[in-house]
């Protein structure tokens, strides 16, 4: 019976983690309140008038002779600034530095310059500091360049073996990693910019440019 119940009620794709729902999922609301009064107490009378700011559409509809569009220079903002019926038209792409592609006006804003990949060059490896055993490890970039894999333990190079043995997981070990030409996760924020996920060192073949 339970199985049948699940069947007839028809569940959708539902997050199992507690998340902020985008709308009103899972929250009961009085059925007869207007949408913009859903935050009102549930015992509030449902037929109170709703005040709109004076520039909203209902007021414009009452004065059809008021011009609806004042022509200005077209800019990339998702609006028909020059009142020609086209949005963001005639805006040229902006060349990126070193001739690497263009920034395009799409969706009402100029885009970023294109990059080789999203997070890392596929197949590249960076060094990570583990908290056990060798205190040294590698993370390989996924085949699509969108993420790094887990930090897998590996023996430290000879130049850092002594530091790893004495200092274990430490800023000194990260510094040794950088000093010896590796690309290292800045877990100890050695450059003091509060970013412990960035990479420092020789990372040219790893970062997306």
């Amino acid at each position: 019976m339970v199985a049948f119940t699940l069947g007839v009620t028809g569940c959708g794709r539902t997050g199992l983690e507690p998340t902020d729902p985008p709308g009103d999922a899972g929250v009961d609301r009085p059925p007869d309140l207007p949408a913009d009064r859903m935050d009102a107490p549930p015992d509030l009378a449902p037929d109170l008038p709703v005040e709109h700011p004076p520039d909203l559409a209902p007021d414009r509809e009452m004065h059809p002779d008021v011009p609806t569009c004042v022509p200005t220079a077209e800019t990339c903002n998702g609006i028909d600034d020059d009142c020609n019926g086209l949005i963001d038209d005639g805006l040229p792409p902006i060349p990126c530095p070193n001739g690497n592609g263009y920034r395009q006006c799409v969706g009402g804003a100029y885009s970023d310059c294109p990059r080789r990949c999203q997070v890392c060059v596929p197949g590249s490896k960076r060094t990570c500091i583990t908290s056990f055993c060798t205190f040294w490890g590698n993370q390989e970039c996924a085949a699509d360049g969108m993420s790094f894999g887990p930090c897998k333990e590996a023996p430290p190079p000879a130049a850092c073996a002594d530091v790893a043995n004495r200092m274990q997981r430490s800023a000194d070990l990260e510094q040794c990693c950088i000093d010896n030409g590796y690309c290292c996760v800045d877990e100890f924020d050695l450059n003091h910019n509060n970013d412990r996920t960035e990479m420092l060192g020789r990372c040219d073949a790893i970062v997306c440019q």
Binding site: M1, T5, T9, C11, E17, P22, Y102, A109, G123
Partner: protein, 295 residues
């Protein structure tokens, strides 16, 4: 350079051995060819078209030759332009294509930044049209998007990776040079890490598999694709002209995994007693929710 026909045949055979479909491009860090513009079998290619090919993100261009085989079987080694951000290798033939002529272009296997072995190149045979590409292309924009979550084995990390998979419906695109010379440039315009500046996605050849309802699939990492996710796009034609700035966006709201992926409508219960029990459970669930709303 005018080698003999036998030499050309050998060259074609060598490329054919190394050429492979895009499915093989999934191996870790391999700098394989992804697609070609125009694709293999294209017809009506504009006489002034530039020819191009996309490669995987790890590819590195070190001056490898791009060879164009003319209708008379003579070959032309072309100097290529490499765009490392789009991973796009492009060439412009030394002279306009011959109207109606059949050409073959051989794209080289490139080296990778992190791979010792070269990747896979490609070969495309196409037929020239009769006119130049003059006007910029038009594109109706992205028309819709659906999403799913994909867990796939990854050769590089030696485990599963989670990706949001977006299936994007494309509006009509047209160009006086035909759609075989178009490149689709998609952008993520909304998302947790977009911050008001659309993020370019890898450019790809315009999909040729369907003439009516073109669509493409886009994969994004989970940390950049939870919540309200929107896409917009433009197209570029064979001479580098872009379609008009496009304000059309398609959006979808995604949910962070893990999630419960729905139930079937078909039930396995029998008879009225099962239905009654189902409705009773549903009513009980609704009764339990009401006090929460009045708090």
């Amino acid at each position: 350079m005018k080698p003999t026909t036998a030499a050309v045949t050998l060259a074609l055979a060598a490329v054919a051995v190394t050429a492979a479909p895009a499915a093989r491009a999934a191996q870790c860090g391999k700098p394989d060819l992804v697609d070609m513009v125009p694709p293999d079998g294209a017809t009506g290619v504009p006489l002034n078209a530039a020819l191009g090919a996309h490669y995987a993100a790890s590819a590195e261009y070190l001056g490898e030759a791009v060879v164009l085989v003319h209708p008379d079987m003579s070959t032309e080694s072309l100097g290529a332009n490499w765009d490392p951000t789009e991973q796009f290798l492009s060439v412009t033939p030394g002279a306009p294509l011959e109207p109606g002529g059949s050409y073959t272009i051989m794209w080289p296997a490139l080296r990778g930044l992190n791979a010792a072995a070269p990747g896979v190149g490609g070969m495309a045979t196409f037929t020239a049209g009769t006119t130049d590409d003059v006007s910029p292309p038009t594109f109706a924009g992205v028309q819709g998007v659906t999403w799913d979550l994909e867990r796939a084995s990854d050769d590089c990390v030696d485990g599963l990776v989670e990706r949001f998979l977006f299936d994007i419906d494309l509006g009509v695109a047209s160009d006086d040079g035909g759609t075989s010379g178009l490149t689709l440039l998609l952008y993520q315009t909304d998302g947790p890490q977009v911050m008001g500046t659309p993020v370019p996605l890898p450019g790809r050849a315009w999909p040729q598999d369907s003439k009516t309802d073109a669509h493409v699939q886009v994969r994004l990492a989970t940390d950049v694709a939870v919540g309200e996710i929107c896409f917009a796009g433009i197209v570029r034609d064979s001479i580098g002209q872009f379609s008009q700035n496009n304000n059309v966006k398609a959006c979808v709201h995604t949910t962070a995994p893990p999630f419960f992926n729905g139930c079937s409508v078909a039930g396995s219960g029998r008879g009225a007693s099962s239905l009654f029990a189902s409705l009773a459970l549903l009513a009980a669930a609704m009764r339990r929710r009401r006090p929460r709303a009045r708090r």
